[in-house]
């Protein structure tokens, strides 16, 4: 499929320099020099998803920040819910630092749930960037009013319909949250993206929905202003000690922890809470990560880390990223490593709980 050694544009064809084996040498041991190289950024999804948007945002910035200003191209390798691309990346050996991989929550979840298609191991890879995000749950105006006056108890008799992409995807986090609150939510599966879920909500067919932060800002805020949607809670964010606190992008909204605590039916301890926290941590605070392949030398990791640091340190970064990424931590170095660990090292009990819950509740068997 994709080999990373040499990959040039028209110049290569014109010239006779067709044979140029791994020419990106380590310049005086301090880092990579990628002058004239093409960095291939593999995204295991199609051109149309959120990961594509994230990678397209970073690619030109990364190109400016890497030594030698290589061309950074995003290569899409969709298939089997991103496991095809991840398995492919697992098979690559580090060669010259011109191949990187962008994973997402949808790559993490099958890994945690022992999906038989997973042949990759996060522990082998080298993380150089971790991008977080959050999620917001919202309701139609009438149910929002009922919640306002009667609390969660007022929603117990409602038949909720939710447009879902599948119980084993990121939707697992809201579905488990609603179940813990005691809501009767029936997921309607088979929608193709969260945008379709929002449309189903707007049409009045679904009466509960969630969106990731950036989609909430662009897609749901106008509905809130028009009075047809009411935000309920965010999933929250992790503080430095790993506690769930309010989402910094939406400081006025309660976090799920607060909502759960206030509800009689829900407890912020016990196996289901632990499982929820584990999968929330895996899915949102470090949703998208950039990796170098197995066997990358420290110099290469340092070069990429420095490049992403330089991107994050741009004067205009806050401005240009606000609408595309939301206000979330973009982590490099040790912080990224910690994020990776908390996202991929889920306690055995949490995994077991979720696998059993998926089987009991939705008949999903991952074999």
């Amino acid at each position: 499929m994709i080999k990373s050694i040499t990959k040039h544009s028209a110049a290569l064809l014109a010239g006779a320099s067709a044979l140029c084996f791994g020419s990106a040498a380590l310049a005086d041991g301090h880092g990579l020099d990628l002058t004239g190289e093409t960095v291939e950024w593999i995204i295991p999804f199609s051109e149309t998803g959120g990961s594509a948007r994230w990678a397209n945002f970073y690619a030109p910035l990364l190109s400016e920040a890497l030594p030698g200003n290589p061309t950074v191209v995003v290569t899409f390798m969709p298939g089997a819910g991103s496991t095809t691309g991840a398995n492919h990346f697992q098979g690559l050996e580090y060669e010259d630092g011109t191949t990187i991989f962008g994973s997402s929550g949808s790559t993490q979840f099958p890994y945690l749930l022992d999906d038989p298609r997973v042949r990759y191991e996060y522990g082998d890879w080298n993380v150089v960037l971790a991008s977080g995000t959050g999620g917001v749950v919202y309701l139609p105006a009438d149910l929002g009013a009922a919640l306002e006056s009667g609390g969660v108890e007022a929603l117990m008799d409602e038949n909720f319909i939710y447009g879902s992409q599948g119980a084993t995807r990121l939707d697992l986090v809201p579905l488990l949250a609603w179940e813990m609150l005691g809501l009767d939510v029936e997921p309607v599966f088979g929608i193709e993206g969260r945008g379709d879920g929002r449309l189903m909500f707007e049409r009045g067919e679904a009466n509960i929905d969630y969106q990731t932060s950036s989609s909430f800002l662009s897609g749901v805020t106008p509905l809130v202003e028009a009075g047809t949607a009411v935000p309920w809670f965010t999933f929250g964010a992790l503080d430095a000690d790993g506690n769930i606190v309010r989402d910094p992008t939406f400081p006025d909204m309660p976090s799920f922890a607060e909502v759960c605590e206030a509800a009689a039916s829900c407890e912020t301890s016990g196996p289901s809470w632990d499982a929820w926290v584990a999968f929330f941590t895996a899915g949102f605070p470090a949703q998208k990560m950039v990796f170098l392949p197995a066997g990358a030398p420290q110099a290469a990791i340092d070069t990429y880390t420095a490049a992403f640091d330089a991107v994050l340190a741009r004067d205009d970064f806050a401005e240009i990223s606000a609408t595309r990424l939301g206000v979330y931590p973009q982590m490099t170095g040790d912080a990224a490593q910690v994020a990776l660990e908390s996202a991929t090292e889920v306690p055995e009990e949490a995994t077991t709980f979720v696998i059993e819950w998926l089987a009991d509740r939705y008949g999903v068997v991952l074999q």
């Binding site: 499929m1 994709i2 080999k3 050694i5 040499t6 990959k7 040039h8 544009s9 028209a10 064809l13 067709a18 044979l19 084996f21 051109e47 149309t48 594509a52 948007r53 945002f57 690619a59 030109p60 191209v73 995003v74 290569t75 899409f76 390798m77 969709p78 298939g79 089997a80 095809t84 298609r117 038949n159 319909i161 599948g166 084993t168 029936e186 309607v188 599966f189 088979g190 929608i191 993206g193 945008g195 379709d196 449309l199 189903m200 707007e202 049409r203 009045g204 067919e205 662009s218 897609g219 805020t221 106008p222 509905l223 401005e319 240009i320 609408t323 595309r324 939705y362 008949g363 074999q367």
Partner: protein, 675 residues
């Protein structure tokens, strides 16, 4: 009027924005790039926009929009070349154009067909934009009226077009559609993730087959093979001089048909979730149903070109409504368009619910850039059509390897796996057999395209309706039988009745004589066998994943009944009956080469690719084919091969794509493009 009060200032502002030299310059650049990519079958807006995306970051919004819109707008125009000249659908938007466009080209009227198509495209594009200018302000509530039951009914209406395209034996058409539906359900079910006709060990099939591959395989491969076997040019007549003026006259004579089909295009494009892949079939069906003399459809009726081509450009305009107003992409290329827009400038244009209130001027700029791009693209295409139409006079043996190279490359873009080529080849054989035995390929394709929405909307509507009924009976009934649904049911029933009554006249596959009994029977048994296998496979899905079982089981049951009826009829009727149509018998005198030796060339390319990688295999294939099959000199073959390889490498390099590797590449590291 309120509407005008809001629209007019923004509209004039939008024109002020568009009509600047540099904006027009970028628009023309985008159009030219779009034409260059769209001309090749299988490559369209997605490939083109991916090419532009890296340049969008921080670009001045208006110029960036001009570039992207120019690119997207002309794909449904330029894809007509392949559909008319080669009988290969240039993209999913012009599949129906093949039915009448290609027979016209065979008659030496390619230029006429092309210019009629371009005139219709232009008209459809501009009419779509005009309509949108006013409609877009009122569109939001109307789009929201289309809930899941309405979407399901639109899908069923699309499926009812099978009726008119079923061919001479209606049941064969229905079985063909059933087969298409079943092949469309291969892979992970959308409701519970149950696997149909695939396992965890066949990851390629788990994601299902992609339309690019099935479309090319079912139309392009059979046509290429058939033309190759006859070993002459596509048209043995000289191209008519000045044919393009005639085409424009044809369009003018059918202007009302063009208006109606444009409106169909806009309307279907506006509805999110269906995408544009059926709009050309619906327009074609409408064209046939409203025509008085139907005897020439499928054999080269110019109206069969005008209808679909009017609709497919108008659809792009309609598709802007869900894209801009809801942030829901109506198609793959629109999805990339959205992410491109987010990269422009400082990101101030935000596609979605706030677009109309905050950026009405940009909304109008996009709508009219689209219309302008249509005008520019059409002019370029009409100028080029006379020259390009001469391709039909070239001996096909010289054209075929090149075409096959492009198709294989396009198919490989689907998943970048060697299995893409295997799927192309495998379904290509099915296409060849369907063509041979006069099974309706359009019916098959409509089934394939609509399999996923039909299943999804059925399951979702069922689930939501169940929840409504739990609340109260009235609420449930109101949900299922809304006024829109009732109107759609009536239209669908009319369409089926009219369609079945007329189906005998419309031969999507042209005239085919009957031959012996044995070969058609064997093919029918094979089809029945696959359907039976699909039934057995789906029926084994356990109860907890029932939602993924119901649809394939239902379709397979209907198709099996059809197969049984056909088998019984085959026993009873004589072998001159249309049931036993066999093109092999009819074309015996025309074919200078056998089917299997011709197929063997392509099978050899596939096997060689698996061993040595695509580029090495292709070089060998091109050289040997030109030298031995086409009988040219070694020098000629050498130059042909060099040009072909250089071309495909330049294309892959500019799109930044790789080629399928083979066994060799897993042992030796080779430089690009041999990787």
């Amino acid at each position: 009027m309120d509407l005008f009060a809001t629209a007019m200032p923004a509209l004039s502002e939008a024109f002020g924005m568009i009509l600047q030299i540099h904006v027009m310059g970028y628009l023309i650049l985008g159009v030219v790039m779009g034409l260059c990519i769209g001309v090749f079958p299988g490559l369209g807006g997605i490939a083109g926009l991916s090419l532009l995306l890296p340049f969008m970051f921080g670009m001045e919004p208006l110029t960036g929009l001009a570039l992207m819109v120019g690119m997207v707008a002309v794909v449904p125009t330029s894809d007509t070349f392949a559909s008319v000249l080669m009988g290969i659908p240039g993209s999913s938007a012009s599949q129906a154009t093949v039915l009448d466009g290609f027979p016209l080209a065979k008659k030496g009227q390619a230029a006429r067909a092309l210019s009629a198509a371009f005139a219709s495209s232009l008209f459809g594009g501009v009419l779509g934009a005009t309509f949108l200018t006013f409609f877009i302000l009122a569109a939001r509530p109307i789009v929201l009226l289309f809930q899941t039951p309405e979407l399901l009914m639109v899908t069923i209406f699309g499926l009812s077009m099978v009726g008119i395209l079923a061919g001479r034996v209606a049941i064969k058409g229905i079985v063909a559609a059933g087969l298409g539906l079943l092949i469309g359900t291969i892979g992970e079910g959308s409701s519970a993730g149950a696997l149909r006709m695939s396992t965890f060990d066949t990851p390629y099939l788990m994601d299902g087959l992609k339309l690019v591959i099935v479309g090319l395989a079912i139309f392009a491969i059979p046509e290429i093979i058939a033309l190759l076997r006859q070993d002459k040019a596509i048209s043995d007549r000289q191209v008519l001089g000045g044919g393009w003026a005639e085409g424009i006259k044809d369009w003018w004579a059918n202007k009302w048909l063009s208006v109606r089909c444009s409106l169909i295009g806009v309307a279907v494009g506006v509805i999110p979730g269906l995408g544009g892949s059926v709009v050309d079939w619906i327009a074609y069906g409408h064209t046939v149903q409203t025509a008085k003399d139907r005897s020439q459809f499928g054999k080269g009726d110019i109206r069969g070109v005008i209808g679909p081509e009017s609709s497919n450009n108008a659809k792009e305009g309609g598709g802007l409504v869900p894209t801009l107003l809801f942030g829901i992409p109506g198609s793959g290329s629109m999805a990339i368009f959205i992410s491109g827009v987010a990269l422009l400038g400082t990101g101030q244009i935000e596609v979605g619910p706030s677009m109309i209130n905050n950026n009405l001027n940009f909304t109008y700029a996009i709508v009219w850039l689209l219309a302008l791009a249509n005008v520019v693209g059409t002019i370029i295409c009409i100028i080029a059509s006379g020259g390009i139409a001469r391709l039909t006079n070239i001996r096909f043996a010289l054209l075929a390897p090149f075409l096959f190279m492009i198709i294989a490359f396009a198919a490989f873009q689907s998943r970048q796996s060697i299995w893409d080529l295997v799927a192309l080849f495998g379904i290509g054989i099915l296409g060849i057999m369907m063509r041979r035995f006069d099974w309706s390929r359009p019916a098959f394709l409509i089934g394939f395209v609509l399999a996923s929405p039909a299943e999804r909307y059925t399951n979702q509507a069922f689930q939501i309706a169940r929840s409504r009924f739990r609340r109260s009976f009235e609420e449930g009934i109101d949900y299922i039988f809304s006024p829109i649904v009732i109107v759609l049911i009536i239209i669908t029933l009319l369409s089926i009745v009219v369609g079945l009554r007329q189906a005998k006249n419309i031969q999507a596959e042209g005239d085919v004589n009957s031959g012996g009994k044995r070969a058609p029977l064997i093919f029918l048994l094979l089809v029945t066998g696959y359907i039976g296998l699909a039934y057995w496979n789906a029926a084994a899905i356990p109860d907890y994943a029932m939602m993924d079982r119901v649809f394939p089981v239902f379709v397979a049951t209907v198709a099996l009944i059809g197969c049984a009826v056909l088998l019984i009829q085959m026993r009873l009727v004589p072998e001159t009956n249309p049931l036993f149509a066999d093109r092999e018998v009819e074309d015996k005198e025309l074919n200078t080469h056998g089917l299997w030796p011709t197929m063997a060339w392509f099978a050899a390319l596939l096997v060689a690719t698996a061993l040595f990688g695509f580029i090495l295999a292709l070089a060998g294939f091109l050289f040997c084919f030109i030298r031995f099959r086409a009988g040219k000199s070694v020098q000629f073959a050498g130059i042909y091969t060099a040009v072909g390889i250089a071309f495909i490498c330049a294309m892959a390099a500019s799109l930044n794509r790789d080629f399928p590797p083979g066994l060799l590449q897993s042992f030796v590291d080779l430089p690009w493009p041999l990787t």
